[in-house]
Subunit: 409 residues, 2 copies
């Protein structure tokens, strides 16, 4: 079930974390304990870009992978069956939202997040750090943790490293994240330095607190756009040793070019033999640049958020489905797309659904967008194998375009 | 494809409508012309209750049948695949809404309503009469037709019998309805008499105007709670001759007992060998009483409307899924239910979806409710065959309960 893989042991040393079988588990393990439950194999390279496979207790994941976001234990507007049909392999849920509602103990009592939301594939939960620092009114931030007001009921909530791990142990995702401080960009250097120091400290506390061997713990590199801070943070986290490494604190206000400039210097400090995850990214253009810098995993709400707002992705650009031009358009959202939406419905019908305020508009467009993101990433993987990733922009001109709002020409 | 059936020719004479093959069709026929495209066979009886089969160009329908409502060319919140999985055989769409948006010509140009909305099974469109008289601000009602203000943009719209048939010919449903005047209840006798006279007149005009032989035209009996008016209306419509007969103008303000008292005297005036359709009904209790009065077809928004409002149907009553009592309830909405929702999700998860404002709450609850209505009607059909329909209330106590808001005990 978890075959030996040929680890690429070049690059920096990866300190293996070994926990005893006897350590108390928050919930019963759904399957037998394995000492190395999360093998990661890089099978092909195209420059720094990597084609790999991450194995989790809930199945294998082909990397580079795009993970749809199921914030509140649902990828908005689609059932798990529909989500699986988009070819999604791994999904993400938000610790912040699930902690506030319905609460981790409720989910644990109901068998964990997989069972709760009916998704039996690989899953990742973030740490809540990003949401706490970007969504909430902060009361107090210390080296010990963060006090903030709940966005649901205004209640004061305290989060620190052990608490965040306890929550994620209860949720039971395959990959969980350390608690981090995520400052906005631009931030001054002192703020970024303090965030790095705290994030390193909290990462160590998270590793101490983590108690489930069927969950991989990933660290998060902070440091804003300051390359030396990124590198110091990465080195410190690698020294502690984690099953994977995320790059956080990007896609928070900086330009595409600023983001890209930060990536390669950071990934160079991360182990070759463990997965790298760029959090909250992004557009096809952002993801392509990150893959070319050696990143393996992505998550973003773009396919579903834009889908709800009637924006459909195609290889050449975006369609705004409320537009009059689609009133009698009998073509699919995208010619050649194999998704359920494109196989069954016309642009005219989808336009009508949005104009009539029908739920099927968001649902069908989200299904297409999610399928589009998977198709894009599948093609990225294929082209890495063929050693010709740069050709992706010929097939997906959208990956050369500027961002998240450009219409199809 | 359309086998001969042994028609029950007892009861009143059914004047067969025969149109020539040569008559101009609004759109190309999707299949060869048949002179009798809508055979209806009553196979079993239990008192006045009938178990039958209606054949349409898009497939057979087991009666008594419950038709989910797809007002704007979508059964709200569910895809055609999900709808089919609820065991729905035939669905309804609203001429009023589709006439206003996106317009019948758009739908005709896109291949008709079946293709537009991705439903390849039997389908019925109503005439718009009910919506015009219940939803809109009326400008003028004459013997020729109705002028009203669009609920979408306030524009003045004119509908009359030939227009309503033209719209439905363009939409292309298997069963279409005559234009009728549908007064609210209570109404004075003069109002009801005038509505009957107009409805008869318009029915004749509709039959004249109807030009597609792959669409069955059903008449609508009006008359409020006045038995003699109902009987006069029915006799006049039967004299004109239609492929089926609906009972309209009920479920518009009267009590359950008043509705039931009207049904049997009306169905007795309708041909034994053609289907009878009670429009806009209803609750399990209403449908059971109507089946026991000899009705074969039903439609209602209840499963989806209540589903969106977090109310789940069960055999013993209703569940309000926002209630605290379901916070950690790991059971399905209804034990023993085979629907997608009950097979995959707990009450606690569905409660969480509603509390978090997630689309999956309405979708999953609608799927269950639609499945429940089909299961109820399937059991009605089985018990008619066993000549023991009265036993249905033992299995579905909800069908003995008072209405549409009672909670499970």
């Amino acid at each position: 079930m978890y075959p030996d893989v040929n680890r690429d042991t070049s690059g920096l040393t990866h300190a293996t974390r070994i926990l005893s079988c006897d350590e108390a588990l928050v919930t019963d393990l759904p399957r037998p304990y394995h000492p190395a439950m999360f093998p990661f194999e890089v099978t092909h390279r195209d420059g720094p870009a990597r084609r790999g496979k991450l194995t989790t207790p809930h199945g294998c994941v082909d990397t580079p992978v795009f993970m749809p976001v199921g914030t509140c234990a649902t990828v908005k507007g689609v059932t798990p069956d529909q989500l699986r049909a988009t070819q999604a392999q791994m999904i993400l849920a938000n610790t912040y939202h699930l902690h506030l509602r319905p609460g981790p103990q409720v989910i644990a009592d109901l068998g964990g997040l997989h069972q709760f939301m009916g998704w039996d594939g690989p899953m990742l939960t973030d740490s809540g750090g990003f949401q706490v620092f970007s969504l909430t009114q902060l009361n107090k931030v210390t080296d010990e943790g963060v006090s903030f007001r709940s966005t649901i009921d205004g209640a004061t909530v305290w989060l620190d490293a052990p608490t965040v791990i306890d929550i994620q142990n209860k949720l039971g995702a395959d990959v969980i994240m350390v608690f981090d401080e995520c400052p906005p960009l631009p931030s001054d250097r002192a703020t970024l330095e303090r965030a790095v120091d705290r994030s390193i400290r909290w990462a160590g506390q998270c590793k101490e607190a983590h108690h489930r061997d069927d969950q991989a713990l990933f660290a998060i590199v902070q440091g804003g756009l300051e390359i030396d801070l990124r590198q110091r943070c990465a080195a410190a986290l690698v020294d502690i040793g984690f099953e994977g490494y995320a790059i956080g604190g990007l896609s928070v206000g900086e330009t595409h070019e600023q983001m890209v400039a930060t990536l390669s210097p950071t990934t160079k400090c991360l182990p070759q033999d463990r997965p790298r995850y760029l959090m909250g990214v992004g557009t096809p253009k952002d993801m392509l640049a990150a893959v070319q810098a050696g990143v393996d995993m992505f998550d973003c709400t773009l396919p579903t958020r834009n889908g709800r707002n009637s924006q459909a992705f195609t290889a050449t650009g975006y369609l705004k489905m409320r537009n009059e031009q689609y009133r009698t358009d009998d073509g699919p959202l995208e010619v050649g797309c194999a998704c359920y939406t494109c196989q069954h419905f016309s642009r005219a019908y989808i336009r009508h659904m949005f104009n009539a305020g029908e739920m099927l508009g968001p649902t069908l467009t989200s299904i297409h967008n999610l399928s589009f993101f998977q198709r894009f990433m599948r093609r990225v993987r294929e082209l890495i194998v063929e050693n010709s990733l740069a050709r992706i922009v010929e097939e997906f001109p959208i990956a050369a375009n500027s961002g998240d709002g450009q219409e199809e020409s």
